[in-house]
């Protein structure tokens, strides 16, 4: 039986989230009340019976390592397979490879040891709750060299940075572009035959290339059998503060919530030991996420509160994303804002960003 291994490639992910990516890579950015961005891809992989997963990290990966640990919370701490975090290395001084090709070069023995014939390669900016097995089946059925996971969006400015895909009627990919008017968006997730991956990596390194997808796949588009597989379930891409903020708040719509978190289709994350959220007498919460460990005495509206957030009496939280362990003190008012971890907003403070552009407070500050 054909089998699949996973690779989460963070080499070319940019720190687009300003203060939120000051000290952590995008994969480790907290998202949706109790997760980090990487949890979605990682959980989708484990749910798809991908039990051997490598992560190419590039920089600012301390919080990512802390989050993933041995992979135990995704059941990846197994004797066979499991999670391999592969940080940048300088194994060989005569090695000329660059970018993610350096990762492949330094870790090729890992890929060789693995018995899977295909590799699912993913970033962390595509958020969905899905099973990759259908994509894999499509990849096998069409005998493709490469199969891209694509989806169709109502285009807005947040999709400007996404790659777009042109296909023939049979689904064969004919072009990968940055066409602003093409709604057929590449998710950043694809499956490739491992033998082909080896061949293309070798060629790219020999010609001093540094970006596997661009130099290995797009450059060879017409030589390869590249297929697309269209995903029609709920999903979005996060490439900017704007898309992070907008898509987070959109989860407060019940319809969206139920699609990303259907009962029985779990997204796994690092387990915490917080008590259930506590709503006190004066609390007034509507249309919001409250994560465990929260203690609410104030008003919270249209907001996402991560674990352990305290909102004291008389405080108002509106259109806000508040990360773990923040305290909003008495009578403070925060609106249109993203507040990173462990921030204290002091008594009577008034902080308001614009609706179009939320204000971001960096972590561990007192304001």
């Amino acid at each position: 039986m054909e089998s699949l291994m996973g690779l989460i490639n963070l080499e070319h992910e940019h720190d687009f989230l300003n203060e939120l990516t000051q000290t952590r890579c995008p994969a480790a950015v907290p998202f949706a009340g109790r997760y980090r961005m990487i949890d979605f891809t990682l959980s989708n992989m484990t749910k798809s019976n991908i039990n051997e997963i490598a992560v190419f990290t590039k920089h600012k990966y301390r919080s990512l390592m802390h989050h993933l640990g041995s992979g135990v919370d995704w059941e990846l701490n197994k004797r066979h397979g499991g999670l391999y975090i592969l940080p940048p290395q300088e194994n060989n001084q005569s090695d000329m490879s660059k970018g993610d090709l350096k990762h492949f070069c330094n870790n090729w023995d890992y890929f060789e040891r693995n018995k899977s014939d295909h590799v699912l390669i993913s970033g962390t900016s595509f958020i969905s709750n899905m099973n990759y097995q259908e994509l894999f089946q499509h990849h096998l059925d069409t005998n493709a060299d490469v199969t891209l996971l694509t989806t169709t969006y109502n285009l807005s400015t947040e999709h400007e940075h996404c790659l777009k895909v042109d296909t023939a009627t049979n689904g064969t990919v004919t072009a990968i572009t940055s066409d602003k008017n093409n709604p057929h968006v590449f998710s950043g997730i694809y499956i490739i035959k491992k033998s082909l991956l080896a061949e293309l990596v070798e060629k790219c390194i020999a010609t001093y290339k540094e970006h596997f997808f661009i130099d290995g796949i797009i450059a060879n588009l017409h030589r390869l059998n590249i297929q697309s597989y269209q995903y029609n379930g709920y999903s979005f891409m996060i490439h900017s503060v704007d898309s992070y903020y907008k898509n987070s708040l959109a989860l407060l719509e019940m319809n969206n919530y139920k699609q990303l978190f259907p009962v029985g289709e779990k997204i796994y994350t690092k387990i915490s030991n917080h008590a259930p959220a506590k709503y006190n007498t004066t609390s007034n919460v509507s249309k919001s996420f409250i994560a465990t460990g929260g203690v609410i005495d104030g008003a919270v509206k249209n907001s996402l509160l991560f674990r352990g957030v305290k909102v004291q009496k008389g405080a108002v939280v509106k259109n806000a994303i508040i990360l773990d362990d923040c305290t909003i003190e008495e009578n403070a008012h925060v609106e249109n804002i993203i507040i990173d971890k462990e921030v204290t907003v002091s008594k009577n403070q008034f902080l308001k960003g614009s609706e179009k552009q939320p204000f971001i407070v960096a972590k561990q500050k007192t304001v």
Binding site: G33, V263, K266, S272, A277, K287, S288
Partner: protein
Amino acid sequence: MKKECVTMLLAGGVGKRLGQLTKNLAKPAVPFGGRYRIIDFTLSNCINSRMHTVGVLTQYSPFELHKHIGIGKPWDLDRMEDGLTVLSPYMNSEGGNWYLGTADAITKNINFIERYDPKYVMVLSGDHIYHMNYEKILQQHKETNADATISAIQVPWKETSRFGILNTTESMRIYEFEEKPKHAKNNLASMGIYIFNWSILKRYLEKDAMLLDSDHDFGKDVLPAMLADGMNLYAYKFEGYWKDVGTIGSYWEAHMDLLEENIPLSMSDNEWLTYSHDSNFGPQLITENGKATDSLINNGCIVSGKIDHSVLFENVHIDKASSIKQSILFPGVRVGSNVVLDRVIVKENVTIPDHTVLVASPNEEPIVVSEEYVKEKLQPMEESPLLKRMTSNF
């Protein structure tokens, strides 16, 4: 391998007075506090007190309990050398026997204890809600050179007749036990937590096992026998929150205690965390029509109704125009629209149909709703004008 102290956790009790809640479930496995099961408090105390060698004795309806405890992972008790061991009744060459009493359960596991060649054995029960550092009682036990130490708590005088009372000298040495006395001399009640010198306990257990008229119970048989022989028995005075959730009334009350603004037992105390499984549901969503006051709510809940003085476990959905007051909703409960619940406990995965009204008055025991209860007593009703008025005034 030698261990100073082996902990034996009695988790086989039937919990008869919890009625419906323990119908197919051991009492230690009964859900508690919005995300826990009762035994989590004791197991968390063990790991927080660095008691790493724990035998859990199970007997009654153990399936859910075994599944929950597993190899002790949530409590970091999955250890290489010692850790958690589930000890169920077993057969041997002489046949099979159930555990007959608390002392008998320990007697039948002497081999387990001897494996670790301990100096002390601590006996706990998995039925109580409290935070306690067992290292402190062990320390007192050593300092007083006691043969046995019993943890005790001061209970209100009017309740002394419900407990086993310890009468002590000023130095806390016990000179008398009084089982549920009508006129107590003292209000120091035993919490069912004991530390023994193992060599002495072993002698008494072997002696007790030979007695035909013994109930093989620590409180009734073993400890009185030790006292009668003039052994050194001391009381350890525990101060803090401790609740025996033995009845539906006290179980419900303990939950209402958790909702006080100054919670007597903080589950979010970083110095003394309570550990449990995490069910990995999404965050809880309070919708535009939802409201929650004086309540504890866990992950995966979707609340479109009004919640007041209630505890919602994970994955509970409350539809619009429903009012939940002074109630406890177990994991997976679904509440339809225009429902009124007051002083109600709803069991796992039960669906309450639209327009249901269930109210227990303050002098009644809270209503426990199971699937059978819904089938027999709750048929979906037509919306009546009276009902409409009731829900809108809530």
